[in-house]
Symmetry: none
DNA sequence: GATGAATGAGTGTTCATTCAT
DNA sequence: CATGAATGAACACTCATTCAT
């Protein structure tokens, strides 16, 4: 018996993300992904039940990595603004360094496959963020707005940075990041 | 290209937007769009060169309507903050009332078709906005950040509101809108 | 608009029967049938919903033709033995002249597609036969056995004649037919 | 090829017959048969050269068992009618008790695999039957018809009984069998 | 002997598009 | 102008079979 080749599975995931970003969600057929990964189309079906499974699994993988990045060095005992800054910068940096992941994620969440994901399950990983935000509101450090609105003005812009169609030739230097964070903070601070 | 024909063309556009939003970009085949519009597949090729043309045209149409909405009652002689508020609220209202347009636009800009659009041409419609922003920076009313960053924290969140996957059960009442605008304004004001 | 080409549909049916008989039910793929009929695989889907529909329709078509053949010159006023002989010989002749139909039918009824046919509906065409048989039993001309058993010893053998694997090099001349009918009649007569 | 192995081989044969009867010849893939037999697909290729070999071997196995059943208690010294009755009833009983075997056999003989079987070899097992029939004809006990026709009216109906599509809800009790034999005998007796 | 990973060729079906009417 | 018939190419997926372990 041959054992499952980790390299192959990784190659498949890489090929999936690459192709989806290059030619879009639709045109990324199983055959093309297989070719890009130097693998037979049939091989993909050893690792994944079907195309849906491949895409959903890849998405969940990315999301989990993302939540881990956001919560790196998370220390709830620090003052709100420090926690928030740490979290935001972590997120920013991670997205910036892994743009291709988030292009994929963006395309995925705009596809019908998105409905197949158990979002409440996935959101659990982001629960600590929610908790901190609530505390910030209680302490009257930030505005009392719903998490949806806050998210749209504070975290959603981060994802926009991964979209080369929105800011393709935009350089993410230290100064830019600082500026961007200032906008995010000013938006929510009281 | 009069009367009866425009009915058909409109039906095709409506069907395109509806299907793309309901079943996603990839599954929206020409045949299905034709059926939804009560038209033969061949008829679509009378009004549009091919599928690409249909989708691109629909996108441009939406974008133009959007720029017109943003610039309604545009009066460059007013003070910056008034112009900005008017513009932002117009945009917000229009997006809120035409969510399906922007779901389509979102899906479109994440597809490879997006590359086929002459963005510089499209951006011309938004040129007055750019001009006002620049003036605001010169007058030291708002922060001196690149248009890309500003856009991400001020206008990009508006689009997020049209995405039911982001804020599906979120009610857009007068108070919410006011709150949201406050966040946008606080983000950029000096 | 091009109108549906009867020749094409006929060619598809002919190709289906021919291929099923030559290479068997399993190996008769849609692609092969299309090639045999000098038609694109996609064309088959204009005339039939799917492969199942193609096969089931072909089967029903054959069965209806068969019932019509059995009941040719059917005259219920004649004496039982005459009706029976006429019916049986009609059937024999038809099967003999259209062996390929019945090879297909045999293969079909041994396939899982068979379950998809509304047999009670199909059997209605054979209802007159059933009625005559019952009368024969009442008049004590033939043995009082269930229709299933009678059918197996009287009509089922007819179908066997169409199977070249059972009697491939068997010549069906006038004398043979007479002999065969004698066996059938002796089997059931009282 | 001892102990444990025979268990496996038997399991494979059982799984083959079961699956072919349940889901049909075409859908019975090697992978599915392997799963049903709790065995790896590769294992099947230890016992059989390929799928064809598996199916053909299974068929021959069934046929041999059948000929042995027909010829149980075969005693050529008895009068013709007794030999015939014994043979026929043996056959009937065996088929009735092993319907699944004959469903498989029926499907097999309608498949292209059937051509791969050396029928003259197989028919040797039935040679004693042929010999007896010939004697019956010489002794003017039965009609002088070709073995093919005789077979169709006497033995072929027996196989029909194994086909649930022909007589699914038909109960095979002692009386039925007697009746059926009477039909068979009346058909051929002079 | 026995296995599951691996695959090229094939499956049924739908695609975007063209064509004759 | 408008249509449904027609199609080659592509789709997601499964096949029988082989191979390294």
């Amino acid at each position: 018996m041959r054992s499952k080749d980790e390299h192959k599975q990784e190659a498949i995931i890489r090929a999936t993300i690459k192709l989806v970003n290059e030619i879009g969600f639709d045109y990324s057929s199983v055959a093309k992904i297989a070719k890009e990964a130097n693998v037979s189309p049939a091989t993909i079906y050893i690792y994944y039940k079907n195309k849906e499974d491949l895409l959903v699994s890849t998405y969940i993988d990315i999301k989990q990595k993302m939540s881990r990045a956001f919560l790196k060095d998370f220390d709830e005992s620090k003052p709100f603004r420090d926690i928030f800054e740490c979290m935001w910068l972590n997120g920013f940096e991670y997205v910036a360094k892994n743009r291709e992941y988030f292009q994929f994620a963006e395309q995925f969440s705009n596809s019908p496959y998105s409905d197949l994901v158990d979002h409440t399950q996935l959101d659990k990983h982001f629960e600590p963020i929610l908790r901190v935000i609530k505390k910030g509101i209680e302490q009257k450090v930030i505005k009392n707005v719903s998490f949806e609105i806050l998210s749209l003005f504070v975290f959603y812009p981060i994802l926009g940075l991964s979209n080369p169609k929105i800011c393709g030739n935009f350089e993410l230097n230290r100064e830019n990041i600082k500026q961007a964070f200032t906008l995010a903070w000013d938006a929510i601070k009281l």
